[in-house]
Symmetry: C2
Subunit: 412 residues, 2 copies
């Protein structure tokens, strides 16, 4: 019999209880023992609900109860989650969490404390919601050098981009719709400015390098500058615009960024729509493998948390030996990373603008889309961002050019 | 230090050696010890190649060497693979195999023998080539009741169908091309008649039910009757034709089949092209998750085998407790499974044929495509195959109907 406690009875916490209740027999068979929720920590009381009898407002009830073997942290945020998780691990309890902020900020340290105490710190639900990705990286991709990890890691923005793409709805309207549907928060910054995806790619890059990739070091650009006109250009290139979190591992150097990118039709990520997420791994032997599913939502996320509970219970006092050290992984300056870009130019005089593009960027392939005026776009070579920026500076000072309307990275 | 032996130095066997050599440091770090290939069993000698010093022609050299901890069976076929694997497990050696015939025919028994001897029988590469799917099913999807498993499980046929779809090339020509490229064998039956996919869905269905789903019991239909005209009809329905292996688990009843099916654009399997494979799992909490990657090929398959070697080495004398009993899982009669079908009708007189369809199937939605004569198609309700068959019998005897040209299941 394994006794567990849940910290936080919000969406994910109540989902964990629901999954454990609905699939009780199956879960206990996989765990090879009964699993019992003894406490739920929450500020609220939930009178009349089944959970009311096991609610506590005092974390010490859980921490000091030696029966509690696994603590499930689904409160979110850094405080007090961090101190709760730390003390649980130090008391010899395993911790399962869905909290990407916590994992991105303190994952390596918590992993070390878990190891020192012969317990486990598990976080399958922190990236990709219900998609099995953390466990496959740690236990399935064990014979490959990972060359790149690229993910659609935020369901809210993917929903917004899909609707903009399919229905031509403007950014502002689709944001309002996403807020009305509950996909986006009233303050949507964490999603639309890429911070959520940034935490997740930091976690994936850390697991791939086995060191700590700090999310603060990752270049992060959201979707707030993406318009339906940008999507028309993307379509001309045979692609769609997605918000990608990406980390590359080349010749011992590591880089990571979050930004919108044009993803062409031959890349399986181009087909990931609506609130779905996907993570594409490139192994040096395996080639591309992709993991696809629901990146958020009460039950999918809770399902991933419960799969961690099963793992924790099955490995009582056996640390699973996931490698993620506190040593900082230095990242390449994003300006040194090579990438091709789509550049949208506003011109005062088309022919001289096109001539300037030809002279500076060496291309005479000009892309035009309907419903625009005084503008065209072109595609740069795959060179460092610094080199492209320098050329853009030159272009801006050229005859016939009024300005740069947008630049969008092209994946690949 | 872990000592291993490889049975068979064909494509996969030499791939295993290549992966272990290329990624030696990384693999030994994951395995937490050096891993050494002591023997390669093959009938040939490979003079001048690095492998020549460790070639043996006598399996007893391996079986009787107590140093050998893991036996890697990549010979294929049932005999002598079955007796070699059995005796290895009985001697307390773990076995990793890519051999889907062996796993489909004897998986449960070999799993039991492994358990009795406190070793492991692992077979990640037997389904989906390099795609991590066996380990995720066993260790990640532990909190969900699996409601359905649907897979594009054969790369050769998917390559053929993709080319027929995209380029309008006929079946016979695309088969010749696949044979020329080495994707299809001279005798292509195992691929094009669905037998390969059948072994794989039998393995997946067995893991999902934890009992033995016999591949002999699975209704299997290949792609030999699929034409580019069928694909035009599929396109009219917003879909493409894929060879699917599918198992459903509903109300305690289990069914499985391999057949071509029209997969609509909103199903992520519709986007899996060329030699890629994918497996879509539907969990009762998780919803849909899909695993995508290279379903065959030397290095991807070998990578999956090596991930099993790492697992076996890390779990020396610890049976991983995968549940797959020898108890037979009874399957529903495929005639009782409900499915919607596209029916292509050849008529002698169109109006009376359409009237017969309306009278018998209750639909007046007639689908026509260009480049055909004297034919149309319609879509049946989702009822049992037996019921549809009875109605088709009636239709055949109706005025204006010359014959049924093809019937194709519609996925979903």
């Amino acid at each position: 019999m394994a006794v567990i406690a849940i910290l936080g009875y919000g969406t994910v916490g109540s989902g964990v209880a629901e999954v454990m209740n609905t699939n009780k027999e199956l879960i206990e068979s996989k765990a090879e023992q009964p699993v019992d929720i003894k406490y739920v920590l929450d500020l609220r009381d939930f009178p009349g609900e089944p959970v009311q009898d096991i609610i506590t407002h005092n974390y010490d009830d859980i921490l000091n109860d030696d029966e509690v073997e696994v603590v499930v942290e689904v409160m979110g945020g850094i405080n007090p989650a961090y101190s709760f998780v730390k003390s649980a691990l130090q008391s010899g309890k395993s911790v399962c969490t869905s909290n990407k902020e916590l994992v991105a900020a303190h994952g390596a340290e918590l992993m070390r404390i878990a190891k020192d105490n012969n317990v486990n710190f598990l976080f399958e639900a922190s990236v990709g919601g219900g998609i099995p990705i953390i466990r496959p990286i740690n236990r399935s991709i064990t014979s490959d050098r990972i060359e790149a990890v690229t993910g659609i890691l935020n369901g809210t923005t993917n929903y917004m981009l899909t609707r903009m793409e399919n229905e031509g709805i403007d950014y502002d309207d689709v944001l309002k719709d996403a807020q009305a549907k509950g996909y986006a928060e009233r303050n949507p910054a964490a999603d639309v400015e890429g911070h959520d995806a940034c935490r997740k790619i930091a976690i994936l890059a850390s697991l791939a390098t086995e060191k700590t990739v700090s999310y603060e070091d990752i270049y992060t650009e959201g979707i707030t500058n993406i318009s339906t006109t940008d999507m028309l250009y993307a379509k001309k290139l045979g692609g769609v615009i997605k918000l990608l979190g990406k980390a590359g591992f080349e010749d011992g150097r590591v880089w990571a960024r979050v930004s919108p990118a044009i993803v062409k039709a031959d890349n399986p990520l181009s087909m990931v729509n609506d609130v779905f997420n996907a993570i594409l791994l490139k192994g040096n032997m395996l080639g591309d493998v992709m993991f696809y599913g629901r990146g958020a939502g009460k039950l999918p996320t809770a399902s991933a948390v419960v799969s961690d509970i099963v793992d924790a219970v099955r490995h009582k006092n056996i640390n699973l030996g996931i490698k993620w050290s506190e040593e900082k992984q230095e990242l390449m300056n994003i300006e040194d990373v090579r990438v091709s870009k789509l550049v949208r130019v506003e011109y005062s005089e088309k022919d001289s603008a096109a001539a300037a593009v030809k002279r500076i960027f060496g291309t005479d392939s000009i892309i035009e889309v309907s419903d625009t005026e005084d503008e065209f776009a072109f595609v740069t070579d795959k060179v460092s961002e610094a080199q492209t920026d320098a050329r853009l500076e030159q272009l801006l000072n050229s005859e016939g050019i009024n300005g740069i309307l947008n630049t969008i990275r092209i994946e690949g």
